[in-house]
Symmetry: C2
DNA sequence: TATTGTTATACTCTATAACTATA
DNA sequence: TATAGTTATAGAGTATAACAATA
């Protein structure tokens, strides 16, 4: 007596829509800071590592280097990151957060954490923690 | 003594990459059947409901009706769905699976289930079940 | 020769506007 | 006049190829 499989039973459907729901929340709370979730991700990555060239950042974030150019153009126009010439290798740009970027990073992370709490609201604290742990075990 | 927040700590990162990993697995196992995960989702939806017009399907799946046209064009070219004129309202198309589509649906669902098992392999059976339940609680 | 950053280009996915045929 | 399906078009996001500057 198995019922007809529904779209909502597909893990792909669930993961895609979960991401979209969270992304909507994150976009909303970050809007006052003039960045989006993807840009915050880049700020977090830059802040967490030694000063790096565009290529190094692109490789570590698994973003195409031509895509990185456009992303950094946007963030530089917003004044949150700066490109400086590398001291020894003049082909490279060293990418770093500006003071304003440090501020936006801090505010953005607080806002993002708030969006995550909203997103996880349907789960109890214990289940939410296990949910995150499961995701970390799955994502390589 | 909190360490620097890393990109991998962000729920958005985890959900996006989890989806991409699963999508890669699903794409691989569905390739022999000449459909992708999105198309299988549409076949599942059509099979699970009463015969419906393109618009009804688009609304229920939250897909734009112009996107639905292109999706159905592809699936019709592959011979898995057929558009038939509605008996009473000739503006409408009734969309249904062909016999071949029924076959592809069955094979595709088996393949998709296999991909999901691969995807959930890092989790114990119990944790995997709770993971899916948590996703269902979150997704509206 | 190889590498870094860049530009030009194209392809996918999605959405908006406008057209057609039917109601 | 409103609706179903369609087409044309444009906007994101991403990827490939080719170029200039530098190593």
């Amino acid at each position: 007596m198995s019922s007809t499989p529904e779209l909502r039973d597909r893990l792909g459907y669930l993961l895609k829509h979960a991401f979209m729901q969270l992304d909507d929340l994150v976009t909303a709370v970050l809007a006052p800071h003039n960045i989006n979730g993807r840009e915050l991700g880049l700020l977090i990555h830059i802040a967490a590592h030694e000063p790096a060239s565009q290529q190094q950042i692109a490789q570590r974030m698994q973003i195409d280097r031509t895509t990185m150019v456009a992303l950094l153009d946007t963030l530089e126009a917003k004044g949150v990151v700066a490109r400086r010439p590398h001291a020894e290798d003049r082909r490279r740009n060293v990418v770093a957060l500006t003071d304003h970027g440090q501020q936006i990073l801090k505010l953005g992370q607080e806002a993002s954490a708030k969006a995550e709490r909203q997103f996880l609201e349907p789960l109890s604290g214990d289940v939410a923690t296990k949910f995150r742990t499961a995701l970390q075990a799955i994502v390589k």
